[in-house]
Symmetry: C2
Subunit: 731 residues, 2 copies
Amino acid sequence: MNRTCILLILWVAPLVLSAQNNIIGFTESNAKTQKTLEKEFDTKLSAENLDNWMQRLSAHPHYVGTDYGRQNAEWMVKQFKSWGFDAKIETYHVLFPYPKVRLLELTAPTTYKAKLSAIPIDEDKYTQQTDELLPSYNAFSADGDVEAELVFVNYGIPADYDELEKLGINVKGKIVIAKYYGSWRGIKPKLAAEKGAIGCIIYSDPKDDGYYRGDTYPNGAFKNETGVQRGSVMDMPLYPGDVLTPGYGATKKAKRIDRKDAPTITKIPVLPISYQDAQPLLKALNGPVVPQSWKGALPITYHVGPGPAKVHLKLEFDWQLKPAHNVIAKMKGDIYPDQWVMRGNHHDAWVHGANDPVSGMVALLEEARAIGELVKSGYKPKRTLVYCAWDAEEPGLIGSTEWVEDHKEELQKKVVAYVNTDSNGRGYMNAGGSHTLQAMVMEVADDVIDPQKNVSVRERRSALDLVNGGDGNPRLYALGSGSDYTPFIQHAGIAAINLGYGGENAGGEYHTIYDTYPHYKRFKDPDFNYGIALAKTAGRIVLRLTNSDVLPFEFQQWHSTVSGYLAELIKLTEDMRIEVEKHNLMVDKNVFELSSDSKKPFVKPVKKELIPFLDFTPLQNQLVAINANIALFASADMNKLSQDKMILLNEKLLFTEHALTNEAGLPRRPWYKHQIYAPGFYTGYGVKTLPGVREAIEQENWGEATAQINLLANTLKGFNNHINELLNSMK
Amino acid sequence: MNRTCILLILWVAPLVLSAQNNIIGFTESNAKTQKTLEKEFDTKLSAENLDNWMQRLSAHPHYVGTDYGRQNAEWMVKQFKSWGFDAKIETYHVLFPYPKVRLLELTAPTTYKAKLSAIPIDEDKYTQQTDELLPSYNAFSADGDVEAELVFVNYGIPADYDELEKLGINVKGKIVIAKYYGSWRGIKPKLAAEKGAIGCIIYSDPKDDGYYRGDTYPNGAFKNETGVQRGSVMDMPLYPGDVLTPGYGATKKAKRIDRKDAPTITKIPVLPISYQDAQPLLKALNGPVVPQSWKGALPITYHVGPGPAKVHLKLEFDWQLKPAHNVIAKMKGDIYPDQWVMRGNHHDAWVHGANDPVSGMVALLEEARAIGELVKSGYKPKRTLVYCAWDAEEPGLIGSTEWVEDHKEELQKKVVAYVNTDSNGRGYMNAGGSHTLQAMVMEVADDVIDPQKNVSVRERRSALDLVNGGDGNPRLYALGSGSDYTPFIQHAGIAAINLGYGGENAGGEYHTIYDTYPHYKRFKDPDFNYGIALAKTAGRIVLRLTNSDVLPFEFQQWHSTVSGYLAELIKLTEDMRIEVEKHNLMVDKNVFELSSDSKKPFVKPVKKELIPFLDFTPLQNQLVAINANIALFASADMNKLSQDKMILLNEKLLFTEHALTNEAGLPRRPWYKHQIYAPGFYTGYGVKTLPGVREAIEQENWGEATAQINLLANTLKGFNNHINELLNSMK
């Protein structure tokens, strides 16, 4: 039997079990009880609650520090308490800049003053709350007052600067204008500053986010010419959370570093603008026409510059400590009170945030209410449930990060897994997270019915995957960053899942004044059917983690996935080698110069350093060794374990994810401890798997690559020891 | 040694010979004389002539039937005569419609009347000759007066109608609006009419042809918002040339079919417009947002319709016979007076046509002048040279087609090869044609130096190919249609080559009032260096064909290319089979419906008929048989042939291309006789190789595919017999 066959059979196995009413982590009899409980849970869920609560939570802007945000937190505490939870607010005091001065003007060759504000919409009263709307800006931009020639840098990611180099253009002393998308926004000013730029403008091009995609608000869901995406540019790939208290909780009395020393505030001023404001600036650029793939959908010829467009950018912020109010609600476990199953969603929004984050928040609340009802009618969770509503997620995952940092030791001892949600809408299930939980999540996806198609959400996701050319086997994606799971998995080494529905809810409201209840009702999930689907999915995951006899960690899918990551790295290195060899041959043959247009800018490429062969065998050998132990673990029959051994096994299993971390963290960013998943240093939200090794290879830092291979092999060895311990605990 | 190695060695062989001062078709001593002659030829060429002549020929609009067109023809006759050619005008009388009424208006939900005219440019006096400019229209559109709802059909090619079907939209009784490009323009109204549309509008989207590509005229070379591409929509894939005299010359007294029976006039009215005129129409459309790949660069959300946009299109033409003046200039051969080497370029233009066709025309004239000078100083061409300037190419290759049809028997007996040029500009050599001439053309490309880079034009082309990911071995592309080589190769079975330089001369002037001398000088080939390069290239090809001891046909590269086409067809059929099987499985699993968005139009796909296995062995066996004979031919030493045998061999070689035709022609279009190359029935200019078989497969007409395989095998057998005759003539 070849390898593919083996993998296929492994894959299909959980499906078969599930059809027989088995659930991973449950004895046969308890699986039946669990399924009955889940059906009961479903009957408690009401879409009307989601609708009402969204109207309440998104009635006014409620970014961190607002009175309405505090009111929302207090209202949620009241709700949780009424459902039987032990709920309270835990407040941290975090730096949050409010924009005092925002000025952007074109000063040459013509003049234009950017409007910097989105138009209110007649049929959307929320957009008319002009006094309350947070002005559009990028949080954690530096203060600044700069004037310089403008350069268009496409998305402002590393590959774009490579293109600029080919054109002989550098941005030193210039102000760059970059399109949103292509990377997490914070990468744009970070890289621009590294390249010597003195200011950064980010705009939403209609190609990515406007009329090119569909009709614009209020006619359709997409971004109109005045909409501006707010967002944080804090250097989160270094560390997220409060910029002044790296690695520890921003309690009232915590020691704070000086703001001017805070490494996660940008080095240069940065401001987001609409495409209406961007067009005159871009139109005033000259110099080479941009490369084909850089072109947007504005009705102009895109030029790179520099100049003759010159812009003046002036930004001043009110840098204040603001209270971030996290809501923490506990329901004590009956058998394992010190094993916590955590569930969270943030409650703060840039403006009203009907979609982001309220659509996920109301599903979480409804889940908690339904569980409360189950408890009232006699259900006893085995483990402790901890439901959370985080504040200050938007400016940099601050609420959750400070809480995790503040409680880290306790959490590492107690938390089984953290289940996160955020925005939610009509469409397909998207699930990411620790691959040890993939089998469990996919079993859940078999048991939740899609509201539109009357098949399981897994089957619908599988259909989408097949239509898009995939193999029809939905998997968990690997977590990078972008929501509150980050401090749990990346920093504390706690297994995490991120969940949501979407794909049929596209729009341009993200972080704008148009993310309102009327927009949500028209374009996102009008009947809250997918809000209910989310509550069913996340609720089942929580209830299974809580009630399982043996915590439902599974290692064969983990192994296959991580082996895949390693294969990717080996191929990446090979591809780089071939690419460099080909490039150097072409330099030798002078084909770049011969094929270049004599009337266009051309910088002759030079030969690149050859790519060495890296020794990946330490990783391959560890994965082989792990595989043998995993097979033993998979073949063990949980039904035959004594209660004592089960307890012992559960206590050990809880530390599974932690065994994949290294306390020293990643090179140059020790906050990130996880060795399998991290947000990319130059991608931001985008994940890098096996990040220590992968980023060293990508940066062509061969010494570091070898060192990281050995470090990772050591971590994997520790993980194997952990699995050995699991096996021993069952003997 | 594996196959790739063999091919590589074969490929490299002519290069090596060339470096040793050998030329294919020449004995060693004559090769030396020839190289000296070619160097002498080069010294005669003057860029100043090209510049002056372009100013003369493109001073006024000169489409077929204009007085200025006639004057140009007469002036060229005078020139040819002064250079020692026996020159005359041969006139045909061809149907040419002139637009009398052109009306396009949006009648609902708002109103807009299309301007249908491009703005004159201050700094370009030619664009100000408003009385002389030919109004923008599509020649051989039917007359019509229609009003209906509008539907946007992307490029209006078969794949686009498949997409419309998925959306549940049909165009019956509607007027369609299609973008230029994606196919030859004539396919758009042809297909629209087949689908039941009653009118067709074609516009230039700025994404393909406007500000998206670069700065617009007069700031840059690209199409401004008012520019309109004229062009013929005659159904040339059926037959080109005069619509009333299919297959025979449109002499004064020729019998003409009734215009209403002419099958190559469109079935519905069709009008080209600018993007300024298109925008209000497209903006008024509603219905589904178009598929991603359909989106253009106008600042709107593109919708498919139908309606609410309703348009009124009224077109009336003055259908008159016009005189088409072909210039034919002969220089008699010394040894083989009845073996003709032909060279042509058209002289008519839609408007001024500085680029199309004058840039190629002036290079041809300079070539002829230089050869005239060589003859005056004693050079005697072995074979007869025939230089031609065709009229009425733009409306449908009419001048050349009528001439070829009228002289077909003589030409088939006498013409060695036809060498065509058309527009020309700065950049890389592009050469297409009979693959039996590939070795010769590439040897020539080794001997012409690129004006910008000081390497051979072949080396520069190779560099471009390498940079674009190719193998760096430039080859002849296969000829479809689009210029005057068509009647020679496709209909008469005469070997043909099409030549030009370009790739650094992009612009939006094609068939507009902006194709003028000032535009050419700024953006195309300012110093006429590539005009000279073209004269050197085409001149060398002509001189080698003329002077060769043995006509330079070569069969190993032909064989490798045609074997490649067959391999493509086998793979195409395999890919279609896999695709259908996958599709049907997905229909069975209902994944299309499950993955579809319930709020968007969705038509459930049905299962497709399975793709049968076709028996390609008759073709494979013929190619194997040919290969053996080809090897014998290649190993023969021309230096050792007696004069008599050489003469006999040359007489046989002349019929080589004809051996690849079938007098019955292609299914449903008997005018097209060639069995290896044809323009696609649904692509227009785009070539279909092995067209009888390929199009039957593409249309899933399996009975016809098998019949065509056998017919083609028979043609190949005839070709093998021909090679046998060549071998026998040397015995």
